[in-house]
């Protein structure tokens, strides 16, 4: 497997996962805002924070009103992580390795691109939004499902899975970070605290699985524990790290990366996340994100094509 091809597969997969995560976030936020009383909602601001785009957003926008923030998140040309830009990047990646990926997968990515681009007005409208985002989420699932079922499970597939897992762990950590930081805990909002935690779970499609696994009322400490530490929930950070370790182990020269992943896992296990209060939780997640970035850098250094000297 060519280094360039491995790298491109990795990014293609990351971008699709990113688009799917952002689509889910918007959908869930949309639902949450309908439930919260006027004046209590945090609006769309946290979503811009989750994708780490506050500064660049504020350069061109004066406020976080729904039409502006939504356009930015869905199709913003100036937003590198907008759904449309993520899909464009995934498609460009796929295009340069069309000889490697099954033809049907290319066609699905291409179809998704045209869907996102041509139906953006649906996504911006209140009525059309749910169906538009659902279609994007479904398409992403279909692409990953088809990849799993039709591509050789060789080195290339390893990089597809690695991209998927690292992006997922990263998004989970971001969602948990911003959502828990921004949780409105005022006397007035007390009755609504619960639905905000439920909404966090929903953003990670974790609600049903949380109920099955934790079997308790939705409460802060259990939610954090579940999305960070669960061994069985496929979007928990711990699960993603475990998968990455298993994927990397057979690769040549991977000892160093395995050490980095082990460190991240140890860090994650050591924290008694249940008791971490606001602020501390944020710092703690920051550490984990730095570790994830480190794993990516190690991968790039070891396996990807170096720019010409």
């Amino acid at each position: 497997m060519l280094s360039r091809v491995g790298e491109t597969l990795y990014w293609m997969s990351r971008y699709i996962e990113r688009a799917e995560n952002v689509a889910r976030l918007i959908n869930v936020n949309n639902m949450l805002m309908m439930d919260l009383p006027k004046g209590v909602s945090t609006g769309w601001e946290p979503l811009v924070d989750i994708i780490g785009a506050r500064e660049s957003y504020q350069e061109t926008h004066t406020d976080f009103s729904e039409p502006k923030a939504l356009r930015y998140l869905l199709v913003g040309k100036d937003n590198f992580s907008s759904i449309l830009n993520s899909i464009i990047s995934a498609r460009e990646s796929a295009r340069t390795i069309r000889d490697v990926i099954p033809r049907d997968i290319w066609e699905e990515i291409n179809t998704l691109y045209y869907y996102v681009k041509d139906n953006q007005n649906e996504g911006l409208s209140k009525r059309g939004r749910f169906a538009y985002l659902k279609a994007i989420i479904d398409a992403a699932h279909q692409i990953f499902g088809a990849l799993d079922a039709t591509i050789n499970h060789d080195l290339g597939y390893t990089f597809i899975r690695l991209g998927l897992m690292i992006e997922r762990a990263d998004m989970t950590s971001r969602i948990l970070d911003i959502r828990s930081e921004n949780l409105i805990i005022s006397e007035e909002a007390k009755p609504f605290e619960n639905i905000q935690w439920i909404s966090l779970l929903r953003s990670l499609s974790a609600y049903q699985m949380y109920r099955q696994e934790m079997g308790v009322r939705v409460q802060r400490s259990d939610v954090i524990e579940f999305v960070m530490h669960s061994d069985v929930f496929p979007r928990s950070i711990m699960y993603c790290l475990g998968q990455m370790k298993a994927l990397i182990s057979p690769l040549p020269n991977s000892a160093e990366i395995i050490t980095s992943i082990d460190k991240a896992i140890d860090e994650l296990k050591a924290g008694d996340v249940r008791s971490l209060e606001k602020g501390y939780l944020h710092e703690y997640i920051d550490e984990i994100q730095i570790k994830l970035a480190g794993i990516h850098n190690d991968l790039a250094e070891l396996y990807f094509l170096k720019p010409a000297e």
Binding site: M1, L2, R4, V5, E92, R95, T96, R98, D99, L305
Partner: protein, 430 residues
């Protein structure tokens, strides 16, 4: 139909659908067998000619081919002088364009020996036809085309410098922005080999070529390159080329890697050199050309040049080294102003121009919005010839390109032409 070909001046869209006409073009098997023999003869002579030019230049010494022509050739690569590619083959893949005149005679219009493209469209067109009109294939005995990728792979593998079971064959593409990228992908996929870009390859101190893989460097034996000569190796040619591989020419000249087609093969695909092919066949093979050339006036000859300038409104005038129909003047369809501009260009550099009479080109029926076109459309045919030195193979038929505008003589995909499936039909089969 899912086929794309990039045109360089269509804004930021990098793909454009390529029109496919569903009415197949048919040629009888008997006639085709004759064409096939002619094409084999032609490529054999062309390869001998190229090899001669880079060695003793006997054909020049014997006064058959003018020295002045070679000196002015833009596709002659002095870096290739004295190099011996395996089996003395330089043009492993040749795409010759054929046309038929009003009387039915097939002529060779030009030979493409650098990186001829279009074969993937030939294969795709057939697969579309089989899906859409399966019943036609039951009634008529149409010779298959789908063996091409295997033949191509076998030819490439035969060029490997390391005799072994599975030589590492790669397709080298300039990248996703190249107009024929679809084809590069397609062929790599069909042959099951890696599609590489220049940055994926490296020439190490041992003068061998390696590709950078996840598991480290891996030796490459044969490169089917789809990059023009001048971009192949910044050490030997254009120093600022980002597409090529530094040291590639070194590795090739030492025989550590095979390049297909060989650098410098383009010296014989010049439209002036073309005029000498019948003489070459006689010189090297002692035979008469079995496939005729279209009569060609060479502007380097003052008498012929005069004739061209006087009759420019009746001739097709071509620059010697352009491909894709760029820079072409079609006399009868041009304005006085365009003619004057071309005459000025001819006078400035006569070596660079040739002219041919506008043949009474045959037409083929095509299907347009109002039904089958009355009078048809002009078409040409590009078969592909594979030479390994031991074995020569010609595609059954080839790619038929058709002008999509009434009366137009230009069929190039880069100029808005379309394509057709081409059937070699066995008339005797029951």
């Amino acid at each position: 139909m899912g086929i794309s070909f990039t045109v360089y001046n269509e804004g930021n869209m990098i793909d454009r659908a390529w029109p496919f006409d569903i009415i197949p073009r048919t040629i009888g098997k008997k006639e085709w067998q004759g064409v096939e023999i002619g094409l084999k003869q032609r490529t054999e002579a062309l390869n001998l000619f190229i090899d001669d030019l880079y060695h003793d230049q006997k054909i020049i010494k014997d006064g058959v081919f003018p020295k002045g022509l070679l000196e002015k050739s833009v596709n002659f690569r002095k870096q290739c002088v004295g190099i011996n590619p395996p089996n003395k083959i330089w043009a492993h893949i040749c795409g010759s364009d054929l046309v038929r005149d009003g009387k039915g005679t097939m002529y060779v219009l030009e030979d493409n020996l650098r990186v001829p493209s279009g074969v993937s469209y030939m294969l795709e067109n057939r697969s579309v036809m089989k899906r859409v009109f399966p019943e036609l294939f039951e009634q008529v005995s149409i010779l298959p085309v789908d063996d091409y990728p295997s033949q191509l792979f076998d030819m490439l593998a035969a060029m490997s410098p390391r005799p072994q079971d599975k030589p590492e064959v790669v397709v080298l593409t300039p990248g996703v922005f190249n107009s024929a990228y679809f084809e590069h992908c397609y062929l790599a996929q069909e042959m099951g080999c890696e599609l590489v870009e220049g940055r994926d390859l490296v020439v190490e101190k041992d003068d061998c070529v390696y590709m950078r893989t996840i598991t480290g460097l891996q030796r490459v034996d044969v490169i089917y390159r789809r990059i023009d000569d001048l971009f192949l190796d910044p050490e030997a040619f254009l120093p600022d080329s980002q597409l090529g591989v530094p040291g590639l020419m070194r590795a090739w000249s030492k025989g550590n890697v095979a390049l297909v087609n060989a650098p410098g093969a383009g010296v014989a695909d010049d439209k002036v050199v073309y005029a000498y092919v019948p003489e070459m066949i006689k010189y090297y093979l002692g035979e008469e050309a079995k496939l005729e050339n279209v009569p060609t006036y060479k502007c380097m000859d003052p008498k012929e040049c005069d004739h061209v300038i006087k009759n420019i409104d009746k001739l097709v005038v071509k620059p010697a080294n352009e491909s894709g129909g760029y820079g072409l003047l079609i006399g009868p369809k041009s304005t006085k102003k365009e003619q004057q501009a071309t005459i000025a260009q001819i006078k400035a550099d006569p070596r660079n121009w040739v002219a041919q009479p506008t043949l009474d080109l045959s037409t083929v029926p095509t299907l347009e919005e109002d039904g089958i076109t009355p009078g048809g459309r002009h078409a040409d045919l590009r078969p592909f010839i594979l030479s390994s030195g031991k074995d020569t193979q010609v595609t059954t038929g080839g790619l038929t390109r058709v002008a999509m505008v009434k009366g137009s003589l230009v069929v190039n995909s880069s100029q808005g032409g379309g394509s057709k499936d081409t059937w070699i039909v066995d008339e005797e089969a029951k």
